[in-house]
Symmetry: C2
DNA sequence: TGGTTCTTTCAGAATAAATTGAAACAAGAC
DNA sequence: GTCTTGTTTCAATTTATTCTGAAAGAACCA
């Protein structure tokens, strides 16, 4: 039987590997590696940690740790805690992956899709009107309008979908997802 | 009534704005701005364009254009065409947004989620076994396993979902999405 | 109040990613 | 074969992003 220490080493190693692979994926999604690693660390250890512990474990500077933690708080996927008799702030990750996922989707819609939608509406409204043209040009303008409309309609559907399932209150998504995969093939 | 030239200027301006806002969003999703802009340009103009036209319109180098186009082809959201009597290659964007969306999701799952899943399985299998420990340590190892399992189960559900709806053949997603937003609240 | 502990900020440094441009490569045409 | 036209590659450069560390800012205590 493995010793307590060996077990603990292996656990730490597994955690580190989890953190690293999580961080690796982050880049592909426009999230900074450190931010993702901090989140992964809090998630996989399950323990509240303070800034110094996170700094030490991830080998990052105090400034970086502070900013990454702040960003995770803004995303709503970690929260502050306190330890009796300790003035330091502790942070812990939301342990419910689906709720975490909802937070991320909600934020990304708000930050990226909503502004894009607003811009596209503007563009549509300032595009030349087809009815003032004729012949080939009219055709071209109509096609332009159609493409804009289709993009708008797609994004609006996505928006509604996300509100429907990802709203602060309603869960449902998890159930729906699992049900949908039931009817496989 | 506006002159043909004014109309055309306005159309070009609207296209440029579309291209710019599309490119802007790309960064947030881990896609290079230029690649997104090239795609937006092909989508919004609806016309097949060759490398030189894309270079000129986006003000980028030949090398950059070539690499961005290649990447879009790899993603399967643009395709090659040819013009009679012209040796240049032309490129055109898939005009169906939902099919485009399916291609993107399919590729991202393949490139990012699948490898992550593989790594997580490995990590799970090399994590220390709880049954060789006792007391608090056993509890800790069990909790670690549980967190890994939940993450794996989440990602697997996502994988299945994406295969279900995003598969090369089946569409369905569009209909499902629209239906789901029908029962709005 | 001054002292202590912890947190945030931000200019500059380090690092990573995108872009260029020229050379190498391909595919006809003749 | 050579010449022409079009495409790809990649080392060097430019640009953008992330990270650091020290200083400033809070919050609490006695």
């Amino acid at each position: 039987m493995a010793s307590r220490d060996t077990q603990h080493e292996k656990l730490t190693e597994a955690q580190d590997r989890f953190v690293a692979s999580w961080g690796q994926m982050a880049g592909a999604w426009g999230i900074s590696r450190t931010m993702a690693e901090a989140h992964a660390l809090l998630y996989i250890t399950g323990k509240p940690m303070n800034t110094d512990e996170i700094m030490d474990r991830l080998q990052i500077s105090r400034g970086n740790a502070s900013m990454s933690i702040r960003a995770l708080l803004d995303w709503g996927i970690i929260s502050r805690t306190h330890k009796r008799g300790d003035r330091k702030e502790y942070f812990e990750a939301d342990q419910d992956i689906w709720s975490m996922f909802r937070s991320i989707v909600r934020e990304r819609m708000k930050r990226e899709v909503e502004p894009l939608l607003a811009t596209l509406f503007e563009i549509r409204d300032s595009s030349p009107a087809p009815d003032e043209a004729s012949g080939d040009q009219q055709k071209e303008l109509l096609a332009h309008q159609k493409r804009l409309e289709e993009m708008l309609s797609f994004l609006q559907t996505m928006e509604k979908l996300s509100h429907r399932f990802v709203s602060p209150s309603g869960s449902g998504l998890e159930l729906a997802a699992k049900l949908l995969t039931k009817f496989d093939k």
